[in-house]
């Protein structure tokens, strides 16, 4: 009973300063709309950035090397280099690679699980090369079958146009070719070549080179990696090196030095840890998260200050009224509660407007900028945040109001 009777004078006090109240309600509404949509987008991006990558990100780096003298045999150079790298204490293993994993630069080809050409069954695969050290170098698991043997790795020239007779696929890719039953031992086919290509092994999922892409057409293919047993020198070649736990930063210069010592007539470039590669691939998503957090924070700050301003203004305007109430027996607690309830009512008005505005903003973002449709579970979180903001903001002025001495009621000035 008491609370209902309290609400009426609060509402009439708000009505007296309806412009101020409306302005704050509008600010709260816009803030809610932005906060909810921002939290939704941020969460989506963070999920995207945290997608598992498969290889041992913390301990891997990749480098590129170019031979400067024309009388080096590229095949021998690669084999010697890898032997050199593997001999360094602290290096767990190393393999030759065609492209840097998850870098946005990738070789893609479509293969299918049936011999007859069939456009609907073509599966886009991210091709990368490896030698027999792939499991240890990438930190992946063998799930079925076996890995390549040393005698199955061959050196190819840049214009090589054949397909391998044996490949290894990730579990996800394997299941797309062979929906049921064992994948290892099955055959896949390429283009119009009738040659069966045997899947000799299945490994744990590895993220493709286009993992950071937003293209809807690529969404289903993010773990479609196929390993082929080749070494290649296309005017340059790249090696992936995995360090023992924690030794990545110390072995990187050692690897560079060892390669330059064994063959000084060369260039070594683009030495990137896998974390750096991922940072660059996800740079856009990361930036979106940071900018949204900054703008969201500033908006909450400005709205909070606005609430402080309005509350202080009301307190100043109603000083006599408050003093009178205190003189008539209201406790400090009652005054405090009055202002808190007023703030909650105002925030509620803002939140109701804001909820509608949230959906409007989300609709506009979705239709014009391809954003996703809002998951309604984010709305309550945004509302709680906004209520908390209001309460924190109003506390100072409410406290000041409660400290107004009853004696004010009796003063004439």
């Amino acid at each position: 009973m008491q609370s209902i009777m309290e609400v009426r004078p609060i509402l009439s006090a708000m009505w007296r300063n309806k412009v101020g109240a409306c302005l704050i309600a509008l600010q709260i509404a816009v803030t809610l709309a932005v906060v909810v949509n921002a939290l939704f987008i941020i969460n989506g991006r963070i999920e995207k950035i945290s997608a598992p990558v498969g290889i041992d990100v913390d301990n891997i780096f990749t480098l590129t090397t170019v031979a400067l003298s024309t009388n080096q045999d590229p095949e021998q150079l690669i084999k010697d280099d890898l032997a050199q790298i593997r001999a360094i204490p602290g290096v767990r293993d190393a393999i030759p690679v065609l492209t840097y994993y998850q870098s946005g630069s990738a070789r893609a080809d479509s293969y299918r699980g049936v011999p007859e050409p069939n456009d609907d069954l073509e599966i886009l695969s991210n091709i990368n090369y490896t030698d027999e050290h792939g499991l240890a170098a990438m930190g992946i698991e063998l799930i079925e079958g076996r890995f390549f043997r040393a005698d199955e790795i061959s050196y190819i020239t840049p214009d090589y146009n054949g397909v391998p007779t044996k490949v290894i696929v990730t579990e996800t890719l394997g299941r797309k070719f062979i929906p049921v039953g064992p994948i290892a031992g099955s055959n896949i086919y390429y283009d119009t070549l009738g040659i069966p290509i045997e899947i000799i092994g299945v490994v744990s999922d590895i993220a493709t080179g286009w993992i950071a892409s937003d293209r809807v057409s690529l969404a289903d293919t993010r773990y479609n990696v196929m390993l082929q047993p080749y070494l290649i020198y296309r005017s340059r070649t790249s090696y992936l090196v995995r360090a023992e736990d924690g030794l990545l930063s110390s072995i990187m210069p050692q690897v560079e030095a060892a390669l330059l010592e064994s063959e000084p007539n060369r260039l070594i470039s683009r030495m990137l840890t896998q974390s750096e590669v991922l940072e660059r691939s996800y740079a856009n998503d990361y930036a979106t998260v940071v900018v949204l957090i900054v703008v969201m924070g500033l908006m909450l700050l400005i709205t909070g200050l606005g609430i402080v301003g309005l509350a202080s203004f009301s307190v100043r305007q109603r000083t006599r009224q408050i003093g009178t109430r205190r003189a008539l027996g209201a406790k400090k607690r009652d005054i405090l509660r009055h202002f808190i309830i007023e703030n909650i009512l105002l925030t509620t008005l803002g939140v109701i407007l804001g909820a509608a505005l949230t959906y409007l903003v989300n609709y506009l973002l979705a239709t014009h900028f391809g954003s996703e449709q809002l998951d309604p579970r984010y709305l309550p979180s945004g509302m709680i945040l906004v209520y908390l903001l209001g309460l924190i903001a109003v506390f100072g002025p409410a406290h000041k109001a409660a400290s107004i001495p009853p004696a004010i009621a009796t003063r004439t000035v």
Partner: protein, 437 residues
């Protein structure tokens, strides 16, 4: 009169320093955030070839091996293959044509103290320089005749010339690129079309770096494209580069300069006719509908502006809205706090119009100061953006134009926010605050 208004406005600031700073600060923050993001956006969407972008065109061919009534857009490739490029360039409809692609090579400085470096290498025809209006610091590019008779010539970008020759005029000197020696015949001046409309597949805001050599060397040097995309519809018949050139692989950039709308229509027709003619080889079996794009429509098609960025820009404007709503409240409080002074002025003869003018001047001044604060905020915002987006280096410069827009936006939005408070102030009854209580 204006000086009087300004003086009163200034005095009013001094009397309520905290509140005035809050208002200016809020506007500054809102404007600053918007302008930082807007700067990058404006540079992302502006015409990269002002003055001649309406004459430049590129195209997408629709090459399908199977006769079908559909035109799937996936079939239309934004790059062209070697065979088609060599055929289409024979057309005399365009005023000029540009063919180019990039790769990488090791460059050996003549100065043996400097070690060899891997640099970008661009194979471009003579028309490339004319079509894209490439400016030269020293020397000049090769001619069509040179491409056939004397192709071992090179043009350096300004940056490479700085690295190798400390910016001096290196024309006439010899440079070893990869296994061959080239005569330097020219050095480019700064050439930074933004976005890089002529090559969007390697990074639309990248710069052209390294050295350039004639496109006619493509079958000779056998260097595959590096730094962009190559898409093949089928595999080459043999293991050779020559076979690769014959295959339906798409990797070359082809831009043409067309003098009039008529010529655009004629060129489009030419492409269609070319497609029909190629049908005898089992190519272009689809509807043979080709797309011809001008510079701006190409940038749209290639989706050069990041959608995420548009979302951020919208959120920034919503932030400005909240800042302005805040300002309305603050301005109201500030102005109404002076009700007694206003009533007094009215009582001694000041007209409503004068009060209105006074407060509009004050609001404009607040807007101007807010805009200045906004520029400072924007400058730091741009530093932050540069740190977040690695390749937006060229896009994060606060131009004079945008600074002007910032101040104007600040003034206009503050005036709009101030309209209600000023109206309220003008409505104050004369006598109310003259009473002692």
């Amino acid at each position: 009169m204006m000086a009087y208004h300004l003086k009163l406005a200034w005095l009013s600031f001094r009397k309520t320093p905290v509140m005035s700073s809050l208002i200016i600060g809020a506007i500054g923050l809102g404007i600053g955030v918007c302008i930082s993001l807007l700067t990058v956006y404006v540079l992302m969407i502006k015409d990269p070839a002002p003055g001649f972008s309406d004459r430049l065109f590129t195209y997408k061919l629709d090459n399908q091996a199977v006769e079908t009534a559909e035109t799937s857009t996936a079939m239309k490739h934004p790059l062209v293959g070697y065979r088609d490029a060599m055929n289409i360039i024979k057309s005399d409809i365009p005023v000029n044509q540009s063919l180019h692609y990039q790769t990488a090579a090791v460059i050996y400085p003549a100065n043996t103290n400097q070690s060899p470096v891997t640099e970008r290498l661009r194979l471009a025809n003579a028309g490339f320089f004319a079509v894209h209006r490439v400016p030269f610091l020293y020397g000049s590019p090769w001619t069509d005749a040179d491409e056939m008779s004397d192709p071992y010539q090179t043009v350096l970008t300004r940056a490479l010339n700085e690295t190798l020759f400390a910016g001096e005029n290196s024309v006439g000197q010899s440079l070893k690129i990869g296994p061959n020696h080239y005569k330097i015949i020219g050095v480019m001046d700064d050439f930074k079309p933004m976005p890089l409309y002529l090559e969007t597949d390697g990074g639309a805001f990248n710069e052209i770096t390294g050295a350039l050599i004639p496109f006619s060397l493509t079958p000779v040097l056998e260097m595959r494209k590096n730094g962009g995309s190559t898409r093949c519809r089928s595999d080459p018949a043999e293991d050779t580069f020559a076979a690769f050139l014959e295959t339906d692989c798409y990797w070359i950039h082809h831009w043409v300069e067309l003098a009039s709308a008529d010529d655009v229509a004629r060129f489009t027709q030419y492409l269609d006719d070319y497609g029909l003619q190629q049908r005898q080889f089992g190519r272009f079996m689809g509807n043979a509908m080709h797309e011809v794009h001008g510079v701006l429509s190409w940038l749209e098609d290639r989706q050069v502006v990041n959608q995420d960025y548009r979302i951020l820009l919208s959120v920034a404007f919503l932030f400005l809205l909240v800042c302005l709503l805040n300002c309305i409240g603050l301005l109201l409080a500030k102005f109404l706090g002076k009700s007694s002074e206003i009533s007094l002025r009215r009582a001694v003869g000041g007209s409503r119009k004068m009060i209105f003018r006074q407060y509009m001047v004050e609001v404009t001044l607040i807007g101007f100061l807010g805009g200045c604060v906004g520029l400072l905020v924007a400058a730091s915002g741009l530093v932050g953006i540069r740190a977040l987006y690695r390749n937006y280096e060229q896009l994060t410069h606060l131009t004079l134009e945008l600074s002007g827009i910032a101040i104007l936006l600040a003034i206009v939005s503050t005036i709009i926010a101030g309209l209600f408070p000023v109206w309220q102030v003008c409505r104050l009854p004369v006598s109310q605050h003259l009473k002692s209580q």
